[in-house]
């Protein structure tokens, strides 16, 4: 009787599962299938042609470069911020944590715009930069900055709840046995948080490679120069070159699927639930 009292009738159960799966099928599976179908609609040769075309390859390279710079920067920041927040008590800690989350609630377009206001031709530092021949906006440095901004909270956000839960005792024990601070960090803290760190890095990387709005504002859309993969998708799409657009998009969709698969493996194997994350 008790079992019956705290569960639904099998009809209700069936209805809930059918509705849930139907909703997910409509909103998640269909678009995913559409990307791969549209990419292969003119055969495999057209697909590979679109991917190995010069501009596409340049876009892939630039995407990897930008992610390769911005992800490590955010790892260093994430580690430093979560060390400061979880190993020490200081006033204003709550505010500090909230400020780290700030980029999540800013529109990607605004994220790009604020860098144009500082480094753009009419911006605060614009004239000085122009005098010294330094290009930030409509060039790679601006795109890296915008990417760092939008991926700013990812690593710290995963690490802060995890390190709070683990406490300070392990590090304190190591220090009392004569370890230096760096030794405690490398051989105690880092192994303790490695799966959480990897989890944060995965999400950070997916967003870094896929960011569109913020990067679009600062890129200037110079084909073969400042085009990342998502921007290249937009250009091809607007040129009605749908097969090529979906072909490049399918690479990004594969990246998303690999990210999700690795994330799930981390969750199952190492019982790392990633509950601190809402992004």
């Amino acid at each position: 009787m008790q079992r019956v009292a705290t569960t639904e009738s099998s009809l209700a159960r069936w209805l809930i599962i059918a509705t849930g799966l139907g909703f997910l099928g409509l909103f998640l599976i269909m678009p995913l299938l559409a990307v791969f179908t549209q990419a292969l609609v003119k055969g495999f040769a057209a697909y590979t042609d679109a991917i190995f075309e010069l501009d596409a390859l340049t876009a892939i390279k630039l995407t990897l470069l930008i992610a390769g710079i911005s992800v490590p920067l955010n790892i260093i920041f994430g580690l430093a911020a979560s060390w400061a927040i979880t190993k020490f008590s200081f006033p204003g800690k709550g505010l500090f944590v909230t400020l780290i989350d700030l980029p999540f609630s800013v529109s990607p377009v605004v994220s790009g715009l604020i860098y144009v206001l500082i480094f753009g031709a009419q911006g605060w530092l614009g004239p000085w930069l122009a005098e010294h021949g330094i290009r930030i906006i409509f060039a790679v440095p601006g795109m890296v900055l915008a990417t760092v901004f939008v991926t700013f909270p990812f690593v710290a956000r995963e690490l802060i709840p995890l390190m709070t839960e683990q406490g300070r005792e392990d590090e304190e024990a190591a220090l009392s046995l004569g370890a230096s601070g760096w030794q405690a960090f490398w051989s105690i803290t880092l192994p303790n948080i490695r799966w959480g760190l990897l989890y944060g890095v995965l999400l950070c990387n997916a967003r870094a490679m896929g960011e569109f709005g913020a990067v679009s504002v600062v890129s200037g859309h110079l084909r073969g120069e400042t085009n990342t993969m998502p921007l290249h998708v937009e250009i091809l799409y607007n040129e009605y070159n749908f097969v090529a657009a979906f072909a490049v998009a399918s690479l990004l969709a594969l990246l998303a699927l690999v990210t999700l698969a690795l994330k799930s493996v981390l969750e199952w194997r190492y019982d790392y639930s990633g509950r601190g994350s809402e992004h």
């Binding site: 809930i16 909103f27 911020a81 800013v106 144009v116 304190e172 601070g181 937009e234 799930s264």
Partner: protein, 291 residues
Amino acid sequence: MIATALDRSTAGQVRRSFFRTPSVIPGFGLSFGLSLTWLCLIVLIPLSSAFIKTAGMGWEHFDRVALSERAFAAYRLSFGAALGAAAINALFGLLIAWMLVRYRFPGRRVVNALVDLPFALPTAVAGIAFTALYSPNGWIGQYLEPWGIKVAFTSLGVLITLIFIGLPFVVRSVEPVLADLGQDVEEAAASLGATRLQTFLRVILPALLPALLTGFALAFARGVGEYGSVIFIAGNMPYRTEIAPLLIITQLEQYDYEGATAIATVMLVASFILLLIVNLLQLWSRRFMVH
């Protein structure tokens, strides 16, 4: 060696700091200094530039651009569609979280992993995929066309992509709270004669409400600022299917940096208010869970 270690730890405890509570763990100056500097350089100074620029532009220009009829139409679409999408996500997100936590069915783990797809899939990819699906000759669009329902290049298309974007926020907010919810309260309700529906509405739902509202607010905030997935399907007609972030881009393309910043400031203020609400909700839910 032990003596030096003890010296070090007592020195750490004795050392007075007017700012932080003393701790034996080193590295506060380095880690706090580095992260605060980085936060200021990347986030705080650039964001404040938008406010400073707006403050210096003069009321008349601000009024003409950020409070124009066209801008209001864009705000209405961005906020309205985001609100609608967040409401639909609150309903279906709760249902999906329930399904994932309470039921066992084949493929549950794969479904669970797929829920995060909107976080991992680049927005531009989602945008062109939904446009392909809902265009008049698309897989779904062709069945809607005879009924006179147009999705692509209308505000309905904006709503649908924002549902996609916001779904995981609700599911992932509700899921852990639902999993931690003990079944003893449900047993108690049932033993006192409540029907299953009464138990759900009077016992389970109130406990889930803070998490549900948090998920709703996060999905709403994300939807308001969303750009990449929406511009492909929206059609981008001024006054009708033009979202607020796109209006910023339009101003930028006309080299009206002040106008773009004015609209950006309106959106920033709105998202800060939303962020405040999310934080208050989380504070409330923490209090709620304790009692």
